[in-house]
Symmetry: C2
């Protein structure tokens, strides 16, 4: 029986995590540790200046569940060191996120950072996201494909598992063409701050923006999603740009 | 005259950013946009649910400076789209952080995420960190080496600049042996939550931990710092684990 940790960044009451818990329970003993409120855009933030609270809650049927007032990465740290302690986490599943985490979004994503926080410690880990920000998004097709991916992933578990960034296109099951293993698409957000004045006369700036694809690449997650495929990007936490290592020899001294 | 953006995650009043502004001014026209309070551990968090406030302040002599109530990444987004607008940012310098951002710390670091936020848009960008968490850390040697690195980096600017993660050992200038270009060290934090009870009877968990090196690697930033060198890791925002792309062929459908 696999010990499975389920978490997310939209908060423990989001429909996306309920969909993931439902599928995860088919594969093992599920424990949920998730934020008590939405944490989108938290990236890999951790809470250093304040204490964290952990509360056992009864959100999912027959499933041990905890909510935490910290970030998604905090949730996974608490799961590892307080809840599971010496018990092994065999698999971490994060999501299903309401909104795409393809391309550069992995950097800003609490969902992917939670999954990464597990994978840093060698825990096989998958983050799932649906390309639909709506609270009442339809997770039917996402659940179908999440089940297929988790089943295969578990059958192939070995000592060198990578974090997987899985994104589902916002399409019905019949329209999804399949699953592709991809590279992270080369994109960025073009910001466009909404400026306004608050009720007390203070000027504010509210972050908004538009995703922009820098380069087309038929192997990228963005293109796979556009073509109607579920995208999977094997990802990790080593940010070294290896191709550039030699470029900076001129900086070396001694 | 280069337009230089200086930011950090320890807040606009931290001694580390004052040290960096002092050096940066030798190389161009400096504008500071930094958080109004310490933001360590914020990773690549961005503020979506709340508006941001930006306030022009008079913290550094003869230097246009703004403080923002958001995260380090928010500061850079505001700098790009509100303060600089159509003016080019030629160089972004982040830090000098009070504390190391070598190895896995790059993931959690607001300093490095601010620098990365600039580099995502193609802005040449360097994050600097000193391996000393103290507020009154001695930045003398860090300033000396930051000056050398910035000078060389500017002389070699081209269309393919990488984000640099620069860490200074906590040593006096005479004891530093030189500068090494490195790979991100393979390490992780072993958490050890401090448990306690607050004044109202509520149980809390306070994150603390110990850095653990998984694998020794003579090319890593951790080893360079231990050996008395300034470490530089060319870094980027593409988290694809390219060596693992083929491993997951079994997941493909269609």
């Amino acid at each position: 029986m696999l010990n499975i940790l389920v978490t997310n960044d939209d908060g423990i009451n989001a429909p996306g995590i309920a969909a993931l818990v439902e599928i995860a329970k088919e594969f093992g003993q599920v424990t949920v540790v998730a934020p008590d409120s939405p944490q989108s855009g938290q990236g890999h933030a951790i809470t250093l200046k304040n204490p964290l609270r952990l509360k056992e809650v009864n959100v999912f049927k027959d499933t041990k569940s905890y909510q935490c007032d910290g970030t998604p990465a905090d949730c996974v740290k608490l799961a590892k060191y307080v809840i599971f302690k010496n018990k092994t986490i065999d698999l971490c599943l994060s999501g299903i996120n309401h909104g795409s985490n393809a391309s550069i979004n992995i950097i800003y994503s609490g969902t992917m950072s939670a999954a990464m926080e597990a994978s840093i410690d060698g825990i096989p880990s998958i983050g799932f996201s649906l390309d639909d920000f709506a609270f009442n998004a339809d997770f039917t097709a996402a659940k179908h494909y999440a089940r297929i991916i988790i089943k295969q992933y578990i059958e192939h578990l070995d000592s060198a598992n990578t974090l997987l960034n899985v994104n589902f296109p916002n399409l019905s099951q019949e329209l999804i063409k399949g699953i592709k293993v991809c590279e992270q698409g080369d994109g960025r957000w073009e910001e466009n701050f909404q400026e306004g004045v608050d009720p007390y006369g203070g000027k504010y700036y509210w972050l908004t923006g538009k995703f922009h694809l820098n380069k087309t690449n038929t192997k990228s997650d963005i293109e796979a999603l556009k073509d109607g495929y579920v995208s999977i990007v094997p990802s990790w936490h080593n940010l070294t740009d290896r191709q550039m290592l030699d470029k900076y020899n001129y900086l070396e001294i001694g």
